[in-house]
Amino acid sequence: MITNKLALIIEDDFDASMIFATALSKAGFETEVVGDGAAAVTRLETITPALILLDLHLPRVVGTEILAGIRANERFNNTRVIVTTADSRMGESVRAQADLVLLKPTTFSQVRDLSARLVQGVRKTPTAKLENPS
């Protein structure tokens, strides 16, 4: 387990962010939660997390914009991005930009196991289809 690596959770639903935060801290991350898109953009100006868990449906600034902003910034070259969404079509549209797309409902163990594997150096594989069925 790698310790002291920062994971930023961008998620507006309190319960989901609680579960993700617990899962990521179990995976060895230091976690931080922001509840809306604008706050996430502000926070990302000062921090460079190892992992970002991004919900696509956010108030104020939509998830896809944040994702595009992260990918356009060289500072985040080593940052892994996990996208969570309930919309499979939207998930499909950002698959190329994200390291991993998780379709909701996303379970605790899924996030815990996959995030650890991702940051440990498991290369991003385009064929990885890890979305959970509804």
């Binding site: 639903d13 617990t22 499979s88 909701k104 069925p133 509804s134």
Partner: protein, 568 residues
């Protein structure tokens, strides 16, 4: 000129009679009487003037002439009265007698029977045929012959036989002429009468047709006005020729504003350009028509449909029927809003429950007893089932609302099966069932379809198979039934579906009514959604089942070339 002077005297001259011939003769006599009266008055004036200037001869002669003139006037008046109030023929006879008397005694006897006055008798003979009866000319000729013979004998002269004979010939000619005239007049009268009758009949027919027409058009108009939908008929040049009150009300124009205007003008201010273009296209082009087109017209939502009006001579124009769709559009919008709200609001808490339960199961907050762990498994299983039901209900609602879209994309069949196995293996193992999957070697690695919907279909079918099978195996097989199709078959070794149930299990909210399956609670929507999704993907679903032997659901889908799917 003359006729205009005579017109005020017409009523005086005309005599009412049932026989038109009689009336004609009596009017003619009146005209002659007027003529005689005028001549007599002139004579009286001449006599009076002559007497006054002393050129009139002896006083007794003057007195005689005066008396004769006055007598003539009185005679004329009497005859006029008889003609008017008694019989026309008596008046005519009296007139002729008077005339004959004037001729007979108006000259010297010798001149009367053999001289200048003899041929004056031709006048009463001719008149008799016209005034009394055609044959009366013969009577008059006879009377004249007797009269001049008698006078001739009385003054010892041989009666003038050629003159008498010529009177008879004249009578014959007068008789023939008068008769022809009467016949001609009669024929004319008959023709006139027929014509009058025909005109009367035609007028009657026309007025009946007109009132019928009015009644008919009034009825049509009443029907048109009673329709709650707006109806406007446009002619071939695109001008509105018929419109009802509802149309005026819906469009917010007066009827006068609608009539004689084209659709473009009518929509100009009230409808946005894109909708206007579509409406005009629908009106003009029959082949473009869809059952109904909805758009905003001012603050209303209208649903319009078009039809071509064909008459006996070809296309007359087009009819536009518009319905107020405002309320329905609002309900539709509310339904959509409700669906998207529930799909988010119902799923989110269920997802949270699943997440927290998973956390506890993963012993984040300490180790669990087997009872605690078992309870958490039950919570997970029930929440998953509820989530599945919520998803099915929302899918069904989306399908019904026509909001479920299909995205055909290339996908790897192996991934689809792997995804399915990763979710369903646990379910099968929990029930002690074996889950097998086979992809036949001739199936292409990449297929084109909506993999998300296929996943949903397979999940439902395999979920059902596991649910209704107590012992044995559930198998998934991918194969090519023919050159143009590929198929997914899900088989189980469950209880099987009775043939009578096979017809209805694809209907929404229907399940096999069986004591065993009563325990397997569900929404009864799974197979209905599977069938509808299959149809949306352009495929079909078949069921083979025998009670006690198990069931096989086969989804057959079209083989779409990959390039085509990518460019689509």
């Amino acid at each position: 000129m003359l006729s205009s002077i005579a017109r005020p005297f017409q009523p005086l001259l005309t005599v009412r009679a049932t026989d038109p011939e009689d009336a004609r003769r009596r009017k003619l006599l009146n005209i002659l009487l007027v003529g005689v009266m005028i001549i007599t008055l002139i004579a009286l004036a001449v006599i009076s003037v002559s007497a006054l200037i002393g050129v009139a001869g002896e006083p007794w002669e003057v007195m005689l002439l005066f008396g004769m003139a006055v007598g003539a006037l009185v005679g004329v008046a009497v005859i006029f009265a008889i003609n008017r109030y008694r019989a026309g023929w008596i008046a005519s006879a009296l007139f002729l007698i008077l005339l004959t008397a004037v001729i007979t005694f108006g000259d010297d006897a010798r001149e009367v029977v053999a001289g200048r006055s003899l041929f004056m008798f031709a006048i009463p003979i001719t008149m008799a045929s016209v005034l009394i009866r055609p044959y009366a000319s013969f009577i008059m000729a006879g009377v004249t012959a007797v009269l001049i013979s008698a006078i001739a004998i009385s003054i010892n002269i041989i009666p003038n036989t050629p003159a008498i004979l010529s009177f008879v010939i004249l009578a014959l000619v007068a008789w023939l002429s008068a008769r022809s005239l009467e016949h001609a007049l009669n024929d004319l009268r008959v023709i006139n009468h027929e014509l009058d009758q025909r005109v009367a009949q035609r007028t009657q027919d026309l007025s009946e047709a007109l009132s019928r027409e009015q009644a008919e058009s009034g009825k049509n108009q009443a029907i048109l006005e009673s329709i709650a939908d707006g109806v406007i008929v446009f002619d071939n040049r695109g001008k509105a020729i018929v419109a009802n009150a509802s149309a005026a009300l819906l469009m917010g124009h007066s009827l006068d504003e609608i009539l004689h205007n084209d659709i473009q003008t009518l929509m100009a201010k009230d409808v946005d350009e894109a909708d206007r273009d579509i409406t005009i296209k629908l009106l003009r082009d029959e082949s473009q028509r869809t059952p109904s087109f909805k758009f905003r017209w001012r603050e209303k939502t209208l649903s319009v449909s078009f039809a071509t009006v064909r008459g006996a001579t070809g296309i007359i124009g087009n009819v536009m029927v518009c319905r107020d769709f405002t309320r329905e559009a609002e309900l539709d919008r509310m339904k959509s809003a409700f669906l998207s709200m529930t799909s988010h609001e119902l799923r989110t808490p269920l997802n949270a429950i699943l997440g927290y339960t998973d956390m506890l199961q993963e012993e984040v907050y300490g180790s669990l007893t087997s009872e605690q762990s078992g309870t958490l498994r039950r919570i997970t299983a029930n929440t998953s089932r509820m989530l599945g039901m919520v998803n099915n209900l929302l899918d069904q609602a989306q399908i019904e609302a026509g909001k479920l879209s299909i995205h055909v994309e290339p996908f790897a069949i192996e991934n689809l099966i792997d995804d399915l196995r990763s979710v369903t293996t646990v379910l099968a193992e929990n029930k002690g069932l074996e889950l097998t999957s086979t992809i036949e070697p001739d199936v292409p690695t990449m297929l084109a379809s909506d993999s998300q919907r296929l996943h949903q279909i397979l999940l439902n079918l395999v979920g059902n198979a596991v649910k209704f099978t107590q012992k044995g195996a559930v198998g998934v097989r991918v194969f090519l039934p023919d050159a143009n199709h590929w198929a997914l078959a899900v088989s189980d070794t469950g209880a099987g579906i009775p043939s009578e149930a096979q017809s209805y299990i694809f209907e929404p909210f229907r399940q096999v009514d069986d004591p065993i399956t009563r325990n397997n609670i569900g929404s009864g929507l799974g197979l209905s959604i599977v069938k509808q999704l299959t149809h949306l993907l352009g495929g079909d679903i078949h069921l083979e089942s025998q009670v006690g032997q198990g069931s096989t659901f086969t989804v057959i889908l079209p083989l779409v070339p990959i390039q085509e799917a990518e460019t689509a």
